[in-house]
């Protein structure tokens, strides 16, 4: 059986082996090594739990652990609080503002949380614009950005779209007849919501919430830029970067991060398991929508306005910072200038050029791997292909920090011959590989979805007319997948451009740094905030444009080929 499959697809089998090798080398080995080291005695190399004991004996680490949990949970709560009214309005009422709500959902996504963190500090910090005004008018000072609050605030603003989208989708999937049959039996209003609508929307909601918790727990950039160091991720980074890669604490923390990540994903999967409540019936899904009374309309618009102001705050703050000269202890910057942009593009253009280079290469690797894996999984019966899929997807559970630490540990002792014996771990191409591994799951999903749209009969008819496998793939399959592949490339590009956790660990000198690193470096000093913000604007523009392109590409391509929407 194994043999016959191999002979059927000789070339693809080799490709599969190569991909497996790549994944093992650059994903599995580093992560396993990290776990290994955490359980290893530093001096003897024996298996031990002493590192974990040391961890829990240290007050700072205990505090960090609970803080990370606290921040994760609070973010989920606050983000849910933002999304529930919006999801409610769009799913229950005929509401003209639905389009605004949808775009409200996308705006935070184009700016990674750490980019806006300092800007938010300028606006909402103890001496920020809002508090200065509040002091003047009311004599009060609200600790929006004090310590952990700041992290929670910034993260919730950034992540509430995930929850909003999940919640809306869950509500829209509820079949109308679920609600009508309850009404028919005497139920209405809040009772109906509590007994029928909420339980049916819960699984989708829980799945979204678990993923947000995971991402917040792992986030390195935001706490660092807000100077909040008593959380797990910053602690790991600080230990490794100040003490070195021999320090076991960084690895211990990595183990915790991975365990929590896996637990969150498992929870999400559990929530959705066997509860496919989405039914496609005559008359369509979604709850019955009713007209809003004037009072309700006013309230709805008010809430949306409030949320919109908050959602645009980081962008607004960032813009002010980037165009401002000096901005401290004042509501607005002293003056406006283009100098920041000039400085950034003339003095340190390598941040931009590196970003374009790294992200392009990472995106390329991702779509090549993604297409190959998708084809192998969906079109062949090669043994172990499901395993390949799982391993590629498992990168989603590995926090960027852990990959960074893993690469440092795994590849440090190898030297790169053609670069004057520089350690392999600090070679810039490793950053590219790390980025591609991190983004591979998403690219793979995009390619899979694209391939599933292409009927097998299209390939078979080509083969029937004499085309070999690779000719068919080249001439038929890939062109038909093009929209999805392009979308996958563009999203890989965009997300790689603003990735920080892994990049911070792996960048050894400023000249090698991409945009995200540049922002981090600049934001360390008060004088650098302006240029840092300019870089931030550049990052937002890059991500925004990529998102737009990817949407246009998919939409136009699908319409042209008369195919259903991908994703």
């Amino acid at each position: 059986m194994l043999k016959s499959e191999f002979t059927k697809h000789p070339a693809l089998s080799i490709v599969m082996l190569l991909i497996a090798l790549f994944l093992v080398l650059f994903l599995i080995v580093p992560v396993i090594l990290v776990v290994f080291v955490a359980f290893q005695d530093v001096s003897t190399g024996q298996f031990t739990l002493i590192n974990f004991k040391d961890f829990f004996n240290t007050a700072l680490f205990r505090e960090s652990f609970w803080n990370s949990l606290y921040v994760g949970l609070m973010t989920v709560l606050v983000a849910s609080a933002f999304s529930m009214p919006l999801a409610y309005f769009t799913s229950r009422f005929e509401f003209r503002g639905a389009v605004i709500v949808q775009s409200l959902g996308i705006i935070p996504l184009i700016m990674p949380p750490f980019v806006g963190a300092v800007a938010m500090m300028m606006l909402f910090g103890r001496n920020g614009s809002v508090n200065l005004l509040l002091e003047d008018w009311f004599g009060i000072n609200i600790p929006f950005m004090e310590g952990l609050n700041g992290v929670i605030f910034v993260e919730s603003l950034h992540y509430f779209p995930f929850i909003l989208i999940n919640l809306s989708a869950a509500l829209n999937n509820i079949d109308k007849s679920m609600e009508e049959s309850a009404q028919n039996l005497g139920c209405s209003g809040f009772r109906l919501f509590r007994r029928i609508v909420l339980p049916l929307a819960m699984p989708g909601f829980m799945a979204g919430v678990s993923l947000v918790f995971l991402k917040v727990f792992d986030d390195l950039g935001t706490p660092l830029l807000l100077n909040v160091n008593n959380m797990l991720a910053p602690q790991a980074y600080l230990r490794i970067s100040t003490i070195g890669i021999k320090d076991p604490m960084g690895y211990v923390i990595s183990v915790f991060l991975v365990v929590i990540a896996l637990a969150s994903l498992w929870l999400a999967m559990l929530a959705l398991k066997g509860k496919d409540y989405a039914t496609v019936q005559k008359g369509g899904g979604g709850l019955a929508k009713r007209r809003m009374r004037p009072v309700e309309k006013a309230m709805a618009w008010f809430i949306i306005l409030l949320i919109m102001i908050l959602v645009l705050a980081p962008h607004f703050g960032l813009t002010l910072l980037s165009f401002g000269t000096i901005w401290s202890y004042s509501v607005l910057p002293d003056a406006f200038t283009l100098n920041n942009f000039m400085a950034v593009f003339s003095e340190t253009p390598e941040y931009m050029t590196n970003t374009v280079l790294y992200s392009f290469l990472a995106g390329l690797i991702d779509v090549l791997l993604g297409t190959a894996i998708a084809y192998i999984v969906l079109r062949t019966r090669l043994a172990g292909r499901k395993m390949l899929d799982y391993i590629a997807m498992s990168a989603v559970a590995i926090p960027g920090l852990v990959i960074g630490i893993g690469y440092l540990r795994t590849f440090f002792s190898y030297r790169v011959p053609w670069l004057a014996d520089q350690p392999l771990a600090t070679w810039w191409f490793m950053i590219v590989i790390a980025l591609s591994i991190r983004r591979l799951p998403y690219a793979l999903r995009a390619c899979s979805a694209a391939l599933q749209q292409v009927s097998v009969s299209l390939e078979e008819s080509a083969e029937n007319l004499g085309a070999h496998k690779f000719t068919t793939i080249r001439k038929i399959v890939v062109p038909l997948m093009a929209g999805g592949i392009l979308a996958g490339f563009v999203t890989s590009f965009a997300t790689a451009a603003v990735e920080l956790s892994t990049t911070l660990m792996l960048v050894s000198k400023n000249a090698d740094g991409p945009l995200s690193y540049g922002i981090y470096v600049y934001m360390q000093s008060a004088a650098g905030r302006g240029p840092g913000a300019s870089l931030g604007i550049a990052a937002v523009v890059v991500v925004g444009v990529c998102t737009l392109i990817s949407h246009i590409f998919i939409d136009r391509r699908q319409k042209k080929l008369g195919m259903r929407q991908v994703g």
């Binding site: 079949d175 007849s177 679920m178 009508e180 049959s181 309850a182 009404q183 028919n184 039996l185 005497g186 139920c187 209405s188 009772r191 007994r195 029928i196 339980p199 049916l200 066997g274 509860k275 409540y277 039914t279 019936q281 005559k282």
Partner: protein
């Protein structure tokens, strides 16, 4: 203050009266002036093709749609303004709409919980309802673990348990396979008789309507074409649509002329000529059923009171219980059903044949 539908004197059942119902969705007129009276305890069918408005009508009675004009009465009460949860009619949806996050028992208990019935009474009534539909041992399962037929019974139990005044069924059998459909329609009928529950059910299948309903309202294009018992509609259709919808029909177009003082219906190609009564003097079509004609492979004399037609077998279809012949008569193709007997060879295609039909079997229509 009781804003709900009150039960009438015999405690439960009520008739339904619709007066002048007109309903449009935007520009589309879906119901155009519906007047219907459904009697208490009746098993009534709304029969018609897709898009005729029958589902909209039943949803109107349940309160999920509002008419722009007209009234809905349940029992003696006008309910047009009442929301669905106050109407005390039980509706079984086409997809059953069982809540997947609740067990069978919780699903069935739902309506009673909404009525604030005490817990022990709920348990009693739920058990009774489940027993009535034969699902007592599946009470603790989830809907996803049940077959289609079982799900339908749960949906039924769920509505019956609240003792509604009217039971509404929206194409209850269309999602079941053929055998199950026949079994379930029998069970539905038995259940309805046992409870004497006024029942309205919607279907596009004339066989279903014919076999179960006391009376049928045939609908097309938002208008009630005719109301009557199945046999009434079958034997005395009011128009061509009803004639064709209730069963296979041979339709011949023609005109009535007077010959020697007698009215004669003559088809356009003169192949068919039938004397008809004066009351049908304006007839433009005649209709007769395949099973009422007799087919002979040899020539047969015209007997008094019988119509004799001559033709040739064009096509023969073996349907198991009957053999259906498609016979060319003049320009017409007529369908003739002959009961199939094992061992008797049916007539071959191409054979010249004689058809005979009793004149009483001919229906004259004016459209």
């Amino acid at each position: 203050m009781n804003n709900n539908v009150s039960t009438d004197t015999n405690g439960r059942n009520a008739g339904v009266t619709l007066k002048g119902i007109s309903l449009s969705f935007g520009r589309t007129r879906v119901l155009k002036g519906i007047d219907l009276k459904i009697n208490s305890g009746e098993f009534f069918a709304f029969l018609g093709p897709s898009g005729c408005g029958k589902t909209t009508l039943i949803r109107l009675i349940a309160g999920f749609e509002s008419a722009q004009a007209g009234e809905v009465h349940i029992g003696k009460q006008e309910v047009s303004h009442l929301p669905p949860w106050s109407r005390n009619v039980g509706m079984v949806f086409q997809n059953y709409a069982l809540w997947p996050h609740m067990t069978v028992r919780r699903n069935v208990a739902f309506g009673l919980e909404e009525k604030r019935v005490p817990r022990n009474e709920i348990n009693e009534r739920v058990n009774a309802a489940l027993e009535l539909v034969g699902l007592s041992d599946l009470a603790d399962r989830r809907p996803s673990q049940l077959s289609g037929g079982q799900q339908q019974r749960v949906a039924l139990a769920r509505t019956i348990v609240i003792e509604p005044q009217v039971l509404l069924l929206d194409e209850p059998l269309s999602n079941l396979d053929a055998k199950l459909r026949i079994q379930m329609r029998r069970e539905l009928r038995q259940l309805q008789r046992k409870l004497s529950l006024t029942t309205i059910f919607v279907t596009h299948d004339q066989e279903e309507a014919n076999s179960t309903a006391d009376r049928i309202a045939v609908m097309n294009d938002g208008i009630v074409q005719q109301v009557g018992s199945p046999m009434d509609l079958y034997d005395r259709p009011a128009n061509l649509f009803v004639a064709g919808f209730l069963g296979v029909a041979n339709v011949v177009e023609g005109t009535v002329t007077l010959q020697e003082g007698k009215a004669l219906f003559r088809s356009t190609d003169s192949a068919v000529a039938v004397p008809i009564g004066e009351s049908s003097a304006g007839a433009s079509h005649i209709v007769f059923r395949p099973q009422n004609m007799t087919i002979h492979s040899s020539d047969v004399e015209a007997l008094p009171g019988m119509l004799r037609l001559v033709g040739r077998v064009n096509h023969r279809e073996f349907l198991g219980s009957v053999v259906r012949y498609r016979v060319a008569v003049g320009e017409h193709f007529l369908l003739v059903d002959a009961s199939y007997q094992r061992g008797v060879e049916p007539i071959a295609e191409g054979t010249p044949v004689t058809l005979s039909l009793k004149k009483e079997q001919i229906i004259a229509l004016e459209q």
